[in-house]
Each structure stands twice: as C-alpha cells, then as structure tokens.
Symmetry: C2
Subunit: 245 residues, 2 copies
C-alpha cells in the first residue's frame, strides 16, 4: 500500500511521519520546500496524487481551492481522505469537486505535534464515511488501528456538533486568555497551571486553524453565543450577589 500526503505544514509533516511508522510506503508532496519527515519520501506531485490512498493535509480554508485545482489530476483508483478539523464542509467539497468514481473518506486525526509529542497511541481519529463503506474504507481503518489509534466512526454533523463544544471552545478560550496576556506566577494554583497549558497548546497551533475552526464548523457560532450568554449570566449573578449583601 502506498500512501500519499499532500501538504507538509506543521500538522501534515507530523502526520506523514506517524503514518510512515506503519507498514505502508509513505510519499509526500508540498507546495513549499519543506523537509521530509523521517520515513517519508518526497516524490513528484503526479505520483503522490496517484497513490493508493491520498491524504490532504492543508488548511480548511484552502481545501476547496486545492480540490478545484488538483481534483482532475487524482487517479480514479485513488482513495481521497481529508484531515480537516471540521467535517461537514470538507466532505461536501470532496463530493462537489471530485469525480463521483473517486472513493472518499473524511477523517479528523485529533492530535498534532504537541498532543502527539509522546506518541499517538490511544489518541482519537475520527472517520466519517463519505462514499459507501467497502473494503477500501476497512483497509485504511485497519491501518489506523495498526498505529494503535482510537478510531471513532460518526457522521460529519455528529463530529462537528461535538467538536464545536470541545475542541472549538478550548481554542476559543485559549485565544481569549492569550489576548488577556496572562503570565506564569509563583502563586499559581494547580487550576491556573492547567489553564496556562491550554493557552500554550492552542496558541502553538497556527492562527489560521483557529479562524477556520470557528468559521467552517456549522455549530461554532452557536457555541460562541452560548459562551457569551454564559459570561453574561455569571456576571449578572455576581452583580445580584453583591446587591444582596
């Protein structure tokens, strides 16, 4: 099995390196002159687009344009998978811009170079079948399992609804706290230390990922409204409490 990875940014490079730890041959291509991760061969674009499995590791906001540009060059036998952190739109874009004969799977590897620093064993990877499930789906699922990933299967909407209120809210809170300019302090409580970890983790990811998570998750706007309402409620309760005393 040959796996192609298109895009060797921060995440793509890490992911390709992890894929290469399994039994497949991993080849990659990237617009920029990134270095190849260990175990990954840099090959011409045409070859990567004709691998048995082809992962796109590009930003959510660029994915549709990448598909428009490269869709016609992808082998008809090639299974196409995205790795975006939202799933509803990317799945739609694949259906819209790729030939109907091309087999499509939407995935979200829920880890990156930070959370996967000490290995990806046990970390979640979400699979959303776009084409009807057959042996091609099962083969790559087995491959993920061989890497000891925690494979979770669900619809794109289920993923996005849950992700908005977990990954989405975490990134939002991380960016807000970073904007506040919070600093380490010697009187840090254990809780504050956890809070600082979240700032570090989320703000270590590219800013574009944050924007894309908020913009392309159909449930993110509702999540942000829920957060704003919760802030208001807590502030009102503090005001009432102060008045009562």
């Amino acid at each position: 099995m040959t796996i192609g990875v298109y895009g060797l940014g921060r995440f793509g490079s890490f992911f390709a390196g992890e894929l290469a730890k399994g039994n497949a041959r991993v080849i990659a291509s990237s617009r920029s002159s990134h270095e190849a991760p260990e175990g990954v061969e840099i090959r011409p674009l045409e070859e990567v687009l004709n691998a048995d499995y082809l992962f796109f590791a590009v930003t959510i906001s660029s994915f549709e344009k990448v598909l428009e540009k490269l869709g016609g060059m992808i082998g008809r036998h090639t299974v196409v998978l995205d790795t975006c952190s939202v799933k509803t739109y990317p799945a739609k874009w694949m259906e819209k811009h790729l030939d109907k004969d091309i087999y499509k799977i939407a995935t979200h590897p829920m880890f990156g170079p930070d959370s996967g620093r000490n290995g990806i064993e046990g970390l979640p990877l979400v699979m959303c079948p776009v084409s009807r499930i057959d042996e091609r789906y099962n083969a790559i699922k087995e491959y993920f399992l061989s890497l000891k990933l925690n494979v979770l299967e669900m619809t794109e909407r289920q993923h996005d609804a849950e992700a908005a209120y977990s990954q989405g809210v975490t990134h939002f809170v991380g960016r807000v706290l970073s904007e506040m300019g919070l600093k380490p302090t010697e009187i840090a409580t254990e809780g504050y230390k956890s809070l600082m970890t979240i700032v570090d983790q989320t703000c270590n990811d590219p800013l574009q990922l944050f924007y894309d998570l908020q913009r392309f998750n159909p449930y993110a706007k509702e999540m942000r409204l829920t957060l704003q309402v919760a802030v208001e409620k807590i502030l009102n309760r503090l005001a009432e409490e102060e008045e009562r005393s």
Copy 2:
C-alpha cells in the same frame, strides 16, 4: 506550640488535618457539628481562641462579622492568622477589629482538599506580615516550612493583583464553562480534557468562595473587564477575517 483552628468547613477541616501532621498540638472549634479531622482535638471555643496561634478558616464574606463577634475573646498573647483567598480586605479587617496588641499575620494557603489530595508538599502558601515581623512570625513560618510548603512572602496588594489574574480568572472561566453545560465526549482533545479538569476543580469548591473571590479582590473587577474586552476582540477579529475571505 498549640495551634487553634476556628471553622471546620471543607477547607478548614482539610487544613487543620494537615497542620496536625507537624509537631504542634492542633485544636479546633466550629459552629456546626463537624467531625474532627485526624490528629485534631475538638475543644471549647474559649480554649481555641486562646491558643498560641489561631487560624480563622471561614468564608471571606463572613470573616469581618466573625472578628467583630469573637475579637474581644481572643487571648492577648495569641497570634491571629486568616486563611482567606484574598488578602487586602481581611488584613484591614484584622487591624480594625482586633486589639492593637494582638499579633496579626495574613496568610493564603493556596491549596485545598482537591489540589492537596496527594499531599501538600511543595504547594504554595502566601504570608503577608500585618504586624511587624518578629520571632512569632518566624516561628509559624518555620512550621509551614516543616510541612514542606512553598512559603511565599509578599504584600496583600501584590497577592491580590496576581491572584485576580491567576486563581480569579481560573474560577471565572470554570464557572462560565460549567454554565455552558460542557460534557465529556469521546472526541475530546487533550486540551479539552484539561479544560474539563478546570471545570471540575473550580466547581467542586463552594459557590460562596467564587462570589467572594470576585467581590473581595480589589483587582477582580478589572480582571473581568479585561476578560470581556478580550472576548470582544477575538469575536471582532473572527468577523473581520470572515469579511476578508
């Protein structure tokens, strides 16, 4: 050395038990019929108020009234210490309501039954001298050090300024996230798991502590405004980003 603890609520009970692990005799009194923690003797109020050192472990909002009520019964030789999570007001209240001959120290043990679950070694305890430092201050400082606490000395205002932007913001975020009704999910990222930890930790503390931290820290209002401004900035930046695309 006999140490008295007034108030055996969730924190006071835990703190008295930890104090009893040192070389002193620890006696306690409480309004309610709490059970005595291991190593702590329940003694009549009068005796507790005449111990060598007397810790008040009561809610911030009740501390001034407790001082008004009991101040006159405290031994002139007794060193009085509060344990409130804010320091500026409690120090002022001790100066206002206790005889000027009574030696006063403001402290903030920055741990509780949750964060100190596996022992309090290395956890921070803040000391703010209220009376002029002498051997009475040094003796209890040595006692804290014998419990392997990380003793930090600063002024009340320094403490409150730093606590508002660490402990204060953590509790605020924890209450907001709890209000949002966030739940565990199988697609939880590592960051989201940390966020859930914060909700658990902060909301396990009494709601009154949250109100008091926000109300009686002179820097908390500014912190909350800074947080609100940060939320607005991030939301505006998202809107601009969306318009640009």
